[in-house]
Point group: C2
Chain length 212, copies 2
């Protein structure tokens, strides 16, 4: 069986957003060309991406919007809820607790951890902040699927190790460090500084970068 590239997975997320928008606006049918134009990719790319998972269109006619949306939603695993724990309630953790798109996509934040006594016991958006003392047990009791790492670099690896003991299967890591996980655990890194640094590079070396 063929692996699916990160590129394809990322684009599927984007297509999904376009399809939701179209569905909300009563657009019934979409071509690969249109779906591509909304996301800055070619029609062939859209078709190749979708063809990894089946044949969802009709030749001559294009794709049915809500049909394709349902399929991509299912492919992405977004037709269910995921139980999420936030580790570290600093600015990023707070932003995520506050981020509507998480909730509406089925990511339910069940727990928030922080080791600051001033924060422990407080509630943000209905989620009580607790100490990490019993992290492993708490995570297991709540059946957490995914944990978000928003703690300082120095604490990140240890927290991840403990989360895995607690049964977490996916890690979304905001700490700018390469974290080690066993092969059966999935980790994705998100680095808020990287894109603005890429802008700094582009503005400094305009002749060295491709331009949209």
């Amino acid at each position: 069986m063929e692996y699916i590239s990160d590129f394809t997975i990322h684009r599927l997320s984007k297509y999904l957003r376009t399809l939701s928008y179209m569905e909300e606006n009563g657009i019934k049918t979409v071509s690969s060309l249109m779906l591509g134009q909304h996301n800055g990719v070619t029609a062939a790319q859209v078709r190749k991406d979708l063809s990894c998972f089946g044949a969802f269109g009709r030749r001559g006619l294009g794709y049915n919007v809500s049909d394709l949306k349902k399929n991509v939603n299912r492919i992405m695993g977004l037709n269910r809820t995921w139980k999420v724990a936030i580790c570290g309630v600093g600015n990023i953790g707070r932003a995520l607790l506050d981020y509507d798109q998480f909730r509406t996509q089925g990511f339910q934040i069940m727990i928030a951890f922080d080791n600051d006594p001033a924060k422990i016991g407080k509630t943000i958006h209905g989620v009580a902040i607790r100490s990490e003392v019993n992290l492993e047990r708490d995570v297991r009791d709540e059946n957490i699927d995914i944990a978000v790492i928003a703690v300082p670099v120095s604490a990140a690896q240890l927290i991840v190790d403990r989360l895995i003991v607690g049964g977490v299967k996916g890690i979304l890591n905001f700490a700018p460090i390469n974290i080690q996980v066993p092969k059966n655990i999935f980790i994705r890194n998100e680095n808020m500084a990287i894109e603005i640094e890429a802008l700094s590079f582009a503005l400094t070396n305009p002749n060295l970068v491709h331009n949209s």
Copy 2:
């Protein structure tokens, strides 16, 4: 002249973080192998990335940490300050205003815009929130280099158009939409939902993804 790929630019950001860490911890010399191991890439990859910009190492000895750090910092355009405006003081905008790494890397947040009367006039982290009524003029007066788009999708394109009128040259876009900009403007997209959706995909289709 050869273009530099986004991949290389992103990795340079990461190398920079490792080099800072090493410098702070008194490590004087680093090999491409070590620098790679800290960032999950091969030694050859590190050398190829650096070789786009010159020869910074010494055969048999490796790279001088602070020397290489200075060079990569310069290459990335991070040896100066950039004037930044934040558009939209929702959860993402607030997180960025609060984000130390921005300040320490030379990204100075000069202005924050929001159209919520309840927010206008308030100050977050020393930055006064103002109405977008005179956005073009304000942006020009403050000599803003980079604007962060943290407004709803429906407002994003218009705000970008106005920022460009005000002389902004770089856009960091958090709105999940493909924004059009003239060729001389640089835009980078950041989508907080995409990586957690990729996790959802991986957990749903473990046999379809490469695993670290």
